[in-house]
């Protein structure tokens, strides 16, 4: 029988990105003993990659900004499917959370009068994103890490949680393995906070790292928690497409903000071809006006390249499918063209977009001041996740909390840029506080030893099958390929039905996955164990997307291309039924209180 190394904490935090670290700091500040588990080394979580900034209505640059405007912007962006309570708390508490980072040593860029500088971003009415050049995520995670290590939290680096443990319906802890040595571990805990991030690795083209296999989503589902909004996966319109090796790496929205234009292989600015009615009045109808907008002319309307992320991604997709793509299957994003409009354009581009300049120079041998880039949509962010109480972040399982990208609610059908980093702070803090409180009020639950042994046995199964079994990497590739093709940016019923059949076959193959070698730092073994989670979240995405027979936000159904008023009043919940089958159901939204309704009306 495999041995388990045992630990016990008041609060166990799974994940050490922005949300996990913020939760850990808060739980420790509330007197809890805290353990943090993460798959990578400390400070390497996904949060480190964020660029643009963290949204908070500090009103340092435009004093008309306040929480009400931020709230209304977030709800509009989410097409009103958001959990209004979360949108309200987020808008109210984000400024305080950003200032808190400064008190812990973060150094944001400054305004002339010495306050935190804020920048414009899509969907935010006023300049709202506090930032540090284009490395805001690094500043945030490092600040939390450096502050956190002095709060007494115990960090278990390079450990992966395999299962949550329950005791008569409430949380009892978690078990998993340590990647370095392959040992099994069990963490007994009175409360558990999931902060595991997203699901991008379910798709072939993504801006996400290997860590994003939807573990938290799958752990919560298996523990009986409800998942929500799983159909809403954000595809960012501009990722790199060439060279193949860097496919999916993000090309910031800032390129278009600075005047970059999208063209197809015929040289046509195809974004002018289709402008949604809802945005007709706000969008430029000629190139000249669009250019003036990017140069700060307040009387000009925005160029169609700056329409919402979902729409731009779909237009790019359409051009490529119609055979008007670039040699490597993208479209052209051209910022070099501005040399026709301004002197010294090369220096201007390098100054405004330094990391993009270096990224293309170093990885693609391409000088963006001289040549157009090739770009295409990339899987970027998961709006859906664990359904939680807006105030406490507790899931439907007592003692199980969720915060950050793994939790659902704040963003509804579509997330605004910058609202994720603030999400991590506001709800990481709340989850940490309420988890500590829960731990105070509830004694430790009992670990079920049989459950532990079952976890270990299933984890070790790939070794029993050995190298003659299926190659786990190959199964993962095939899954990514299928999700990309059939449950991607443009969805139809027949394709998603097909995807579900393929997932079924892949599940059978995953059960045959085998691996050679031993348990020490064996990446092949890790990949084999991740398959279960990837398969599960893929299925929840496909099933939720099938049920929502309309197009809204990030979900576009070719067979139902319009919004449907009735669907606009519902979320989709996915959970495990008593018989183990996946239940997918429509659930009416909670009614908006009159005072918040008034805020939305006022801001329309």
């Amino acid at each position: 029988m495999p041995e388990f190394r045992r630990y016990s904490y008041d609060v166990l935090i799974i994940g050490a990105g922005g949300a996990g670290l913020r939760a850990a700091i808060e739980a420790a500040a509330n007197g809890a003993s805290v353990g943090v588990v993460c798959k990578s080394l400390l400070g390497k979580a996904h949060t480190v990659m964020a660029e643009g900034g963290v949204a908070a209505a500090l009103a340092n640059v435009d004093d008309r900004d306040n929480w009400r405007v931020h709230f209304a912007d977030t709800m509009r962006g989410g097409q009103y499917l958001n959990n209004w309570r979360m949108a309200e708390l987020h808008a109210k508490e984000a400024p305080e959370c950003v200032r808190e980072l400064e008190a812990w040593g973060a150094l944001f860029d400054r305004t002339k009068d010495g306050r935190i500088l804020q920048r414009n971003f899509g969907g935010h009415r006023y300049p709202r994103l506090a930032h540090v050049g284009d490395r805001t995520g690094l500043e945030m995670i490092r600040t939390l890490q450096d502050h956190g290590i002095h709060t007494g939290m115990q960090v278990h680096m390079e450990c992966t949680v395999l299962n949550l443990l329950l005791d008569s319906g409430r949380i009892a802890g978690a078990c998993g393995y340590d990647r370095e040595k392959g040992l099994f571990l069990v963490w007994q805990a009175k409360a558990v906070v999931l902060a595991t991030g997203g699901i991008g690795r379910a798709f072939k083209i993504t801006s996400n790292s290997w860590e994003y296999t939807g573990d938290g989503h799958a752990l919560a589902y298996r523990a009986g928690a409800e998942l929500k909004d799983m159909e809403f996966v954000q595809f960012h319109p501009t990722g790199m497409v060439w060279p193949i090796s860097v496919r999916g790496i993000l090309v910031t929205e800032g390129v278009r903000g600075e005047g970059g234009v999208l063209r197809n292989s015929e040289g046509r600015r195809f974004m002018f071809d289709e402008i949604p009615d809802l945005y007709k009045d706000q969008t430029a109808d000629n190139e000249e006006e669009g250019w003036r907008y990017t140069q700060g002319d307040k009387n000009a309307r925005r160029p169609p390249e700056l329409l919402t992320r979902d729409h731009v991604a779909r237009c790019i997709n359409r051009e490529v499918k119609a055979g008007r793509g670039t040699p490597h299957g993208g479209v052209f994003l051209d910022i070099a063209w501005i040399k026709e409009r301004m002197p010294k354009s090369e220096e201007h581009i390098k100054r405004k977009l330094p990391s993009m300049y270096h990224q293309f120079k170093q990885l693609a041998d391409l000088d963006i001041t001289k040549e157009p880039m090739e770009v295409g949509p990339t899987t970027h962010y998961m709006m859906g996740g664990v359904s939680v109480d807006g105030d406490s972040q507790m899931s439907t399982v007592p003692g199980l909390f969720a915060a950050g990208e793994v939790a659902a609610g704040l963003h509804g059908a579509n997330r605004l840029g910058g609202n994720s980093l603030s999400d991590l702070l506001v709800f990481g803090r709340r989850a940490g506080r309420y988890a500590a409180e829960f731990a105070k009020g509830n004694p430790a639950a009992t670990i079920n030893e049989a459950e532990l042994q079952a976890s270990a046995a299933s984890a070790l199964a790939p070794f029993e099958r050995g190298p003659a079994g299926e190659n786990p990497y190959k199964i993962q590739y095939d899954l990514q390929e299928s999700m990309q093709d059939q449950v991607g940016i443009v969805r139809t019923e027949s394709e998603m039905e097909r995807a579900l059949e393929i997932l079924e076959q892949l599940r059978a193959r995953a059960e045959r996955a085998g691996i050679a070698g031993h348990r020490q730092y064996n990446n092949g073994w890790h990949t084999a164990m991740d398959l279960d989670n990837l398969l599960l979240v893929s299925e929840t995405i496909a099933r939720a997307a099938l049920l929502r027979k309309e197009s809204r936000g990030a979900q576009f159904r070719e067979d139902f291309p319009n919004k449907d008023a009735d669907w606009g009043k519902c979320n989709i919940i996915v959970k495990r039924g008593a018989d183990g089958a996946m239940l997918v159901e429509k659930r009416p939204l909670q009614a908006l209180p009159p005072e918040l309704k008034a805020v939305i009306e006022e801001m329309k």
Binding site: G43, G105, I116, E211, L363, T527
Partner: protein, 245 residues
């Protein structure tokens, strides 16, 4: 560009190991990490390697490529001579765990020994501070650090003289500098730097600065100013006198 290349990858664990050659197809634009991944997916599924962002932002994929400490995700094959095998080894200054993965936990322990940030009280009633861009920029350079530990890997004090118990290495001198020069910080780390962290072991060879993927001017901007503070405090006769009094 060649259509295939040989990668000579070190494989082993603390008990020892050896180089193993893998021949794999290569495409335009590939980086070393892609080649390692291809080998892993097709020939050696249990090959151990660390990575996360694949864009030079997280500092996970540090290794020695043809003897040079580098990030594997930012080293393009087109910049290497593919006529010869590409030699990939784990960092030498840290104990091997397996294959290309080393035990860097010492670094995380060292960080805890450096006194934490201690800000002055807020400048404004809203609990915030006022700082000028010019003043924060100096420290922002140090805060670009992605903790790849390549500088630690090349520093002879750690790599050849194994002074891990006494010397904190360039990464943490940069970290200490970021704290010491932070416009809001009020803590004093000068004495620690001399006595506990042994900044004196550094003889400004600049090896660390030369390998930093973030181009942080480690020696000139961080270490030398810290050394000056130490000298001012401990060797300036007037201050010495002052200290005694």
């Amino acid at each position: 560009m060649a259509t295939q290349a040989t990668f000579r990858i070190w494989r082993g664990d603390p008990s020892g190991g050896k180089f193993q050659d893998f021949v794999t197809p290569v495409d335009e634009g590939m980086v070393v990490l892609d080649a390692v991944h291809r080998v892993q997916a097709e020939q050696a599924p249990d090959l151990a390697v660390r990575w996360n962002c694949k864009a030079g932002k997280c500092g996970s994929c540090s290794a020695e490529i043809n003897g040079m400490p580098k990030l594997m995700c930012m080293t393009r094959l087109s910049n290497l001579n593919l006529e010869m095998p590409v030699i990939i080894e784990p960092m030498h200054a840290f104990p091997v765990i397996r294959d290309l993965v080393t035990d860097v936990s010492w670094n995380f322990e060292v960080k805890k020994t450096i006194r934490k940030f201690k800000p002055r009280s807020p400048d404004a009633p809203d609990g915030a501070w006022r700082m000028q861009q010019a003043d924060v920029e100096r420290v922002q350079e140090f805060r670009k650090c992605i903790e790849c530990f390549l500088c630690q890997d090349v520093c002879h004090v750690l790599r050849d003289h194994h002074k891990q118990d006494e010397f904190i290495g360039p990464r943490y001198l940069v970290y200490a500098a970021a704290l010491e020069m932070h416009p809001l910080d009020t803590e004093d780390r000068v004495s620690d730097l001399k006595k506990k962290h042994n900044i004196g072991y550094c003889n400004i060879t600049t090896c660390c600065r030369q390998v930093c993927p973030e181009s942080i001017t480690i020696t000139e901007n961080a270490i030398i100013p810290l050394k000056e503070r130490v000298v001012d405090r401990f060797f300036d006769p007037l201050k010495q006198l002052f200290n005694i009094i």
